[in-house]
C-alpha cells in the first residue's frame, strides 16, 4: 500500500470509526464503506489539510452526474490515492 493510500485509509478509519483492517485499496468509499456525503466532507477536510491540497469534489461530482466519469474513478481508494498524488504533484510544479 502506498504512503498516500495508507494515509487515506487511516483518515477514513479515524474520521468514520471504520475498522482499519476492513479498508483496502479496492474499497469504494461510498458503496463498500458506506460513507455518506457529509462524512466525506470531514474526510476531504482531513485530506486537504494532510496533503495541502483542495480535493475538487464539486468537479468530480459534476463529472459523475454528467456521465463523464464513474464514482469508481474517484472513490475507490487506490484511485483516490492516484488523484491525490496528481494534485500534490501539480501543486509542486
Amino acid at each position: 500500500m502506498s504512503d498516500t493510500l495508507e494515509a487515506i485509509a487511516n483518515i477514513i478509519a479515524e474520521t468514520c470509526d471504520i475498522p482499519r483492517d476492513s479498508i483496502t485499496p479496492e474499497s469504494h468509499a461510498i458503496n463498500d464503506l458506506g460513507i455518506d456525503s457529509l462524512d466525506f466532507l470531514d474526510i476531504a477536510f482531513a485530506i486537504d489539510k494532510a496533503f495541502g491540497i483542495k480535493l475538487p469534489l464539486e468537479q468530480w461530482t459534476q463529472e459523475v452526474n454528467d456521465g463523464k466519469a464513474t464514482t469508481d474513478q474517484y472513490f475507490v481508494l487506490k484511485n483516490l490515492a492516484v488523484r491525490i498524488d496528481e494534485l500534490v504533484a501539480a501543486k509542486g510544479a
Partner: protein, 157 residues
Amino acid sequence: MRIEYFQLIDRIVDLNLADRKITCEATVPTDCTIFEGHFPGYPLMPGVLLIEAMAQTSGWLVVAANEFKRMAFLASVKEAKMRTFVLPGQVLSISSHLEHEGSGYAVLNAKIRCDGKVVSDATLTLRILDFPNNQVAKEMRKLAESIGLKIEARADG
C-alpha cells in the same frame, strides 16, 4: 436579534477577507416568548440559538468570501461549548475565522464573547452551494445590507 425571524445577527462590525475573519454583534432581546419556556421564571438564551448565531456569522463570512455568488448552509457542528449562561439584554460579540475553504464546503472556528469573556465556541462545517434562484440571491443581498455588510468594500479586506 429578531429571534422570531431567526435573524440572530444585528450587525456586522468587521469583515476582513484578507484574514478570513468576521465579527458581528447581537443583543439578546429582553422580551421574547422563547424565555417563557426556557425557562419559566429563569430566562436563559438557548444554547442551540448561540450555535445558530455562530452559524449565521460564519455563513456571512463564507457568502462574502464567495462574492455573493454562492450560499452557505450549516452541515455540521463540532466541539460546541456553552461555557456560561447568556441572559436577556446581554450584548454578544460573535466572531468567526475561516480555517479552510474546500470544494463545496468550508470549516470555520467561531466564538461568542460577552463582556470580553468567551461564552460559547464551536467548529462548524458549512456546505457552499449555488443560490437556488435569483430571487433568493437578491433577498440575501438585501438582508446582508440591512446588517451592514458592505459588499462593495469586500475587496479591501
